[in-house]
């Protein structure tokens, strides 16, 4: 049968263009980060040494492990990694606790209101991320709107210290990433066959029981996708801990930024990035497995 995409030379060309682009601008850079993480920082342009050099007519190859030893020896980095994983994990959990019920309710609405609600979920993520985090600065400051409001109501006497604490970071991450949790779960729940639930009810199952035994397992892939879409970027988040966080909310993205822009230690920043990537390999693989299936899945095929 004639098919649009069966013409061989065209096929190779269409594959080659995005393939080469991604190899060059997405994959190759990681190899370079790995390479430079073994270099030494120096005051020159570019600010790192070559791994291979000719010294006194001898081709020398030097692999410098100090950047990694530093990571291990300075308590700061270890705490940064642990704290990032902790904050990302609990933020993901909060997103799930708020996002799942929302996705569930929206998925069971009549089509018209469903579309409007879906639009309302997506709209904030189209407006600037930076500006939405900035909005919380005005609300959470010690003389900000939330404190003024609570003091006006007489609920509190002294302003609450939320800004520059990890509470503010949690609020910021949940706020910014909530739509990414809702959408994949919604996409899963909306395809759910409700006759299964009716059958369970007819057979005498309690609603909570059919939820736990039927709805939850069937929406598991949406939960995984949503959780990974929140957890992975949250581990490396820079803007939110920088603008809302303080000393108790040290995160690794912020440390990498400081190492690069303030200390100008490029090899050090590369080592931070390599360890962060190793930490994220498992979650990224999990996300990839779900996403790859979704990209190739053809309905009724």
């Amino acid at each position: 049968m004639a098919r649009l995409t069966s013409w061989r030379p065209g096929r190779s060309l269409v594959i080659a263009v995005p393939y080469v682009w991604l190899l060059f601008f997405f994959l190759a850079p990681f190899a370079i980060v790995l390479k430079i993480s073994f270099a030494e920082s120096q005051l020159a342009q570019p600010p790192f040494t070559n791994l291979v050099a000719v010294v006194d007519d001898v081709l020398t190859f030097s692999l410098n492990l100090f950047n990694y030893i530093d990571l291990y020896e300075y308590d700061l980095y270890l705490r940064g990694y642990l704290n990032s994983v902790k904050i990302a994990f609990f933020s993901t959990l909060f997103c799930l606790l708020l996002g799942y019920p929302m996705a569930y309710i929206i998925a069971r609405m009549p089509t018209h209101s469903r579309n409007i609600c879906l639009m309302l979920v997506i709209l904030p993520s189209w407006t600037s991320f930076l500006i939405r985090i900035y909005a919380w600065m005005g609300i959470l400051k010690s003389n900000g709107l939330l404190n003024n409001f609570l003091q006006y109501l007489g609920v509190i006497e002294q302003p609450l210290e939320i800004m520059h604490t990890s509470v503010a970071v949690y609020i910021g991450i949940v706020y910014a990433y909530l739509p990414f949790m809702i959408l994949p779960i919604y996409a899963n729940l909306v395809k759910l066959d409700y006759s299964l639930l009716e059958a369970a009810a007819d057979l005498g199952a309690q609603p909570w029981k059919s939820f736990v035994r039927i709805t939850l397992p069937l929406s598991l892939s949406g939960i995984i996708a949503g959780s990974m879409l929140v957890f992975i970027p949250a581990v490396g988040e820079f803007v939110i801990p920088e603008l809302l966080g303080g000393p108790d909310s040290l995160m690794i993205g912020k440390l990498l930024w400081a190492e690069f822009f303030n200390a100008r230690n490029w090899p050090g920043a590369s080592a931070v990035a390599v360890v962060m990537l190793l930490l994220l390999v498992l979650p990224i693989t999990l996300f990839h497995r779900y996403q790859a299936r979704d990209l190739e899945l053809k309905p009724d095929a």
């Binding site: 098919r3 649009l4 995005p18 190759a28 370079i32 019920p101 904030p124 005005g138 709107l145 992975i232």
Partner: protein
């Protein structure tokens, strides 16, 4: 009794969720009309910060720079992303498909600091060995944005391609149309709404990016988020509120119009399909 309780619970969950998502944005917009320099104390209605904003040449230059980069990145990302979607849906198995899929999905979740740092190091190393791209600026930001935006375009176009009925193309091919013509006359118009949605998404993503642009930009290529970030770091500023309100107004009206047009088209298409079905049944 039971179901009324449930309805009430559903409503309170939705109101809480949407309240959480929208109250900060609404407050931001209201306070952009505040007379006072202190952002959180209301002292009367004024549009003076909008005036100040437009007189801020540095900010306006950054707006222009960002729009330019976003336009170029979105356009390139649509081309590359649609090709990638076509490969994923239509090309079946080929050598290295596994790697390709990973490279298409990983940018969706990759922390921005890693993407930014790795691209910067690539550009610096290239400069060292082949003398290209010769410093950093608009070109390097464009490459970086195109790369991370194309993954999003792929996801959007992919779902549309999955729904596309291949028999339409086959019919046209059987009737003697050549492949190029079939692609431009049949395939492209059907996936056009997804291309538009992908372009818009890529445009807003590029317009919004702070972290990656900070790594790969050079002197003279300060984008809007970089400008906003440096002023926000010093604390809240009413000018940024005004800018935010404007951005939100523009982006949300664009999104809304796009959404409305897409839905209308979709509805018309369904009506067409139903009409065709009816005619077939009658015949």
């Amino acid at each position: 009794m039971h179901s009324r309780w449930l309805t009430r619970l559903s409503w309170s969950v939705l109101v809480t969720g949407f309240g959480f998502l929208y109250i900060p944005i609404v407050i931001l917009i209201i306070y952009s009309f505040n007379e006072s320099r202190l952002v959180t104390v209301w002292s009367g209605f004024s549009v003076k910060w909008y005036g100040e904003l437009f007189r801020d040449e540095q900010m306006m230059n950054a707006v222009w720079m960002s729009l330019k980069i976003a336009f170029m990145s979105a356009s390139a990302a649509v081309v590359l992303g649609s090709m990638a979607a076509l490969i994923m849906v239509r090309f079946g198995v080929f050598k290295g498909k596994m790697l390709f899929t990973s490279m298409i999905t990983a940018p969706l979740v990759m922390p921005e600091v890693i993407t930014g740092l790795s691209l910067l190091l690539l550009f610096v190393s290239l400069d060292q060995f082949i003398g290209w791209p010769d410093g950093r600026g608009v070109l390097t930001i464009w490459i970086a944005h195109t790369t991370f935006c194309m993954a999003y375009v792929t996801v959007v176009v992919n779902s549309r391609l999955q729904d596309l009925d291949e028999s339409l193309e086959e019919a046209a091919l059987d009737l003697g149309a050549n492949r190029l013509k079939v692609f431009f006359v049949i395939t492209l118009p059907i996936i056009a709404p997804a291309l538009a949605a992908g372009w818009l998404l890529a445009f807003t993503l590029s317009l919004d990016d702070l972290v990656i642009a900070s790594f790969v930009s050079g002197p003279g290529s300060t984008t809007l988020p970089m400008e906003v970030f440096s002023s926000v770091r010093l604390g809240v500023s009413p000018k940024v509120n005004a800018l935010s309100a404007l951005l939100i107004a523009v982006v949300s009206s664009f999104t809304f119009v796009a959404w409305w047009v897409l839905r209308r088209q979709e509805r018309l298409r369904l009506v067409d399909l139903q009409g065709a079905q009816k005619q077939q049944d009658q015949a």
